[in-house]
């Protein structure tokens, strides 16, 4: 467990939880990125302003962190663009179909003890674990 960073993980996690709590206490909204993105894309969308603002804040955070000298690295994605595009399509379609992702189901949903979110989180976690096991240990990518 050489890369385990429990303290920064706990602080970062608490901030994510605080964001979810505040968005409900202030605006009465779920901090689910899938729902926020989908709401922006809907043709007859109302509530575009708060959704766009949330995403803007999300992007502003790494920018501010970098400006303050906090190390923000460019993420390493797979070399194959086909994999990147396929993964993006699957994430976009899948999260919309199940109405939530790691934030909406994994945090907000479980925090309000929703059985739907518990099931969704269990399913996407185990699926991702199987995919990583296959790609890293069977096919050796």
């Amino acid at each position: 467990m050489a890369n385990f960073t429990p303290i920064s993980a706990a602080i970062g996690g608490a901030l994510i939880g605080l964001s979810a709590a505040l968005l409900m206490l202030l605006n009465g909204r779920i901090a689910g990125v899938t729902g926020i993105v989908a709401g922006l894309l809907e043709p007859q969308g109302n509530g575009r302003a708060w959704r766009a603002a949330f995403l803007l804040g999300l992007i502003a955070a790494p920018v501010c962190a970098a400006l303050l000298g906090y190390p923000v690295q460019v993420p390493q994605l797979p070399q194959s663009m086909i994999t990147v595009v396929a993964a993006g399509l699957l994430v976009g379609f899948g999260t919309r179909l199940s109405n939530g992702c790691t934030s909406g189901h994994g945090i907000c949903g479980i925090a309000r003890l929703s059985p739907r979110s518990l099931v969704a989180t269990g399913v996407f976690m185990s699926t991702a674990i199987i995919v990583v096991a296959l790609t890293r240990h069977v096919f050796g990518v």
């Binding site: 467990m1 970062g12 955070a61 999260t95 994994g106 096991a133």
Partner: protein, 157 residues
Amino acid sequence: MRTAASLLCGFIFGCGLVVSGMVRPAKVLSFLDVLAIPSGGWDPSLAVVMAAALAVSGLGYVLARRSVPLLDTRAHWPTQTQIDRPLVAGAVLFGIGWGLVGLCPGPAIANLATLSPAVVIFVVAMVVGTVAHDLWWRAASTSAAESTLLQASAADG
């Protein structure tokens, strides 16, 4: 005011992703790599992130249940309760994509800040996937409504 509050919440969320390291797909993937447990290469950080996030948001939600939101007339709690096929199938598809690259929607959007072309491509594909779902869903529900109508008129004879 609502927009400003939302901007602040998005910013705090993004800070949480940066501080916890969850913006980095490599860190997420090394949590998902449970077969690395015996060799000591597993990174349990994501579990700590979730536990801390759930503790704080859970407490916040308990408070939120007792009151109306400060800046809105009512809280928009999700209403669906049924565990159905779309929920499970969607979670499987999402899990495949997440496992392939290590990016879920929040960190993917936060990483747009790095202007990485690969991240931009991933987010565009993600948006295309979302829009494709909505178009397919609309088409499917329209044809379902039509067939119900046809059956009804046939039954009416």
